[in-house]
């Protein structure tokens, strides 16, 4: 055990920091759930890619830097620390990218990875279907093989980024007689294909953060299959494993929120301390963000040495999502009468983006597998309790 960064790691951090200081936009971008903001974020992805900072964990030959997980953590720390824009293309970079590298042919990689890296093609995920939610095996959308094509019919929902994205990936039932996890195939579908309709779903803040995608006889070439016909569940699990794992919920995000919360608290300590629960929550935010960081470093160190992520990763999902909720609730409590105001309200003093964050934090315990599903997984697979 050695909790010091190596000289190389320190140099890497310095390099990231320097580039970000020079390149992070001075004005915050508009929300990527708006057309304008989406375009701005796509541009930012291109800029990141120019500096080869877009997909640092990808191999060198694919335009990445072949960073290991510790380097990735360092990159993320610097990224969040710099206040750089949110990644509009995380579905591609963190979910589909690694899946393509594992299951894709050379042709797949050549076709999809470069444009993913530049932000030229932004990916939406197509996991859930209506009435299924966290039950990923309840897939009813069909892909029927016709010669060298599939004909896709059905519907996906809760597809993040789909409103302005270019492509989606998801699993479709290719064996009509199958049920649950069997007979599914992982397919890549361009959102501008004839027969695709994207129906925005406005979220709590009124912006279309996700969408329904309708497939009406959508024709997709068999080349768009990843990992082979009827093998979709395995491919999807590898993708979802990443999602549930550490790649998407970088500790840096929560550490920065905790830091901002401490600042907010210190700036309002006298009024905040009228409610002792606030000081407690602030302390808790710092500690939990720290524990989450330490835990991630432990996992990263273990994976670098050849370890595997197990069902204990479900504890992560619960921990960060509840942390995020409670940090934002604490901020709302500190803000008091200002908490309900949007930042452009004249009377809103020092509210920052806390209200946005508060609303977004409500989704944390729901998406990427509800926390109830995660608790089932922990109980059954980690603790070995009897199935229902």
């Amino acid at each position: 055990m050695d909790l010091n960064y190596t000289q190389e790691q320190q140099a890497f951090r310095a390099e990231v920091r320097q580039w970000l200081e020079a390149n992070v936009p001075s004005e915050p971008l508009a929300s990527f759930d708006t057309a304008e903001g989406f375009a701005q974020h796509r541009e930012w992805e291109a800029k990141l890619n120019e500096g080869r900072w877009g997909m640092v964990t990808w191999p060198q030959e694919l335009g990445g830097r072949g960073c290991d997980l510790i380097q990735w953590l360092i990159f993320e720390e610097e990224y969040y620390r710099s206040g750089a824009p949110m990644r509009v293309n995380q579905n591609g970079i963190f979910l589909l990218g690694p899946t393509l590298m594992e299951y894709g042919t050379e042709a797949h990689k050549a076709r999809f990875l470069p444009k993913m890296a530049t932000g030229e093609e932004v990916w939406a995920q197509g996991w859930s279907e209506p009435g299924a939610g966290s039950d990923m095996a309840a897939i009813r959308s069909k892909a029927e093989r016709q010669g060298d094509h599939y004909i896709i019919n059905g519907q996906k929902t809760w597809s993040t980024r789909a409103v302005w994205a270019d492509w989606t990936f998801g699993i479709f039932r290719t064996d009509p007689d199958s049920s649950r996890h069997k007979g599914l195939t992982f397919i890549l579908v361009p959102l501008d294909a004839p027969g695709v309709t994207v129906q925005p779903i406005p979220q709590l803040d009124g912006l279309p953060g996700f969408a329904e995608i309708f497939f009406d006889n959508v024709k997709v070439p068999v080349e768009n299959v990843l990992g082979g016909e009827n093998n979709g569940w395995n491919v999807a699990m590898s993708t979802a494993g990443f999602e549930r794992g550490l790649m998407l919920r970088s500790p840096a995000r929560f550490q920065e929120t905790a830091r901002r919360l401490v600042e907010l608290y210190k700036a309002n300590q006298e009024s905040a301390d009228r409610d002792p629960a606030i000081g407690e929550a602030v302390m808790r935010a710092y500690l939990d963000a720290e524990a989450y960081t330490q835990s991630t470093y432990m996992t990263a160190s273990r994976l670098i040495k050849g370890g595997k992520i197990g069902p204990e990763s479900s504890t992560n999902k619960i921990f960060w999502s509840e942390l995020d909720q409670s940090m934002h609730q604490a901020a709302m409590s500190i803000l008091g009468a200002c908490a309900e105001l949007w930042p452009h309200a004249p009377a809103a003093q020092g509210v920052g983006k806390w209200l946005d964050g508060f609303l977004f934090a409500q989704a944390g315990p729901i998406y990427a597998g509800t926390n109830e599903i995660q608790r089932n997984i922990i109980a059954e697979r980690m603790l070995g309790m009897p199935r229902a």
Binding site: P202, S271, S333, A337, W342, A347, A348, I366
Partner: protein
Amino acid sequence: MDFTFNDDQLMFRDSVKAFLTNEMTPEHIRSLWDTDSGRSPEFWPKLAELGLTAMTVPEQYGGLGMNALDFVLLAQECGYAAMPGVLVETALVAIPLIAELDDAHEGFKQDWLPQIAEGSARVAVAHPDNLLVADAHMADLLLLAHNGEVHGVPAVDVTLEANPSVDPSRRLFSVQWTPSDATKLADAETGALLWQNAFNRGALGVAAQQLGLAKRMMDVTVDYTYERKQFGKPVGSFQAVKHMMADVAVKVEFARPPLIKAAYDIANGEASAALAVSHAKLVASEAVRAAAKNGIQAHGAMGYTWEVDLQIFMKAGWAMDASYGDQGTHKVRIKSAILAEGAALGAGASF
């Protein structure tokens, strides 16, 4: 000792509930969100017709002479319906504040109270402990604070600036105005007591509405757990979902007695009113937070959408949370009461 409402009180509550169920549907609320004022011109007259604007106006000014206890069940129903506007604040804060002015302002009372009772005039209250003024844009009269004094200013003499809230139903304003002897209704000494009473009544009103909102979130969520299916079963049949709603039910169930006790104490001028109000407000706020958190969780992703009605009630509950004192304000009052030398605690000290 009788801790029940009488039949009249319960019947009036039922009729207001029925009225709001029909008139103030989620669809209607959403349609109001898209209007400039956020208010329907036909609605206030209907409230007046039901007697709601006259409830707490003393009889000599054309009102029904009812008190906070008579009104508290109605305030809960206004919350349950997420009724936009300031009926509750009018009945519990503005009207009693005017009625409590001293005899030197008898003319002012005669000018305004009958009009308010019949619904032809509206009042907004700029309580000094609140940041902004709700529904100032609909008011004919504003009650304003200046160095602890109470002032009454006609709408024509103020300038408003809108402050958008997370709850699109809620219309909040900063008010620019100039105090003068002509607008002064109470000096700082009298004002201190008036504003203090107004604060307790305002907090009671918010608590009542929040409790109604918590109950509504619970009800719409329970309904939704029949609709939403996972693994082939309604999510409401999963024990985890049941228990998260049961936890809300416990909070709602035990937030109700303190609310009623607070209303009773205010109506009867009990010395325990401030403590009772702070208790009621704190637990109502907690009920809202729990109902929102567990409500959205039981809804799953739908709970995070604009489409599902839950958002109407969550946002209303969140938005009014710090109005008439945030949790910290009320915790301070509670603690100082129970830690006071000689505080009456323990068995037999409740009533």
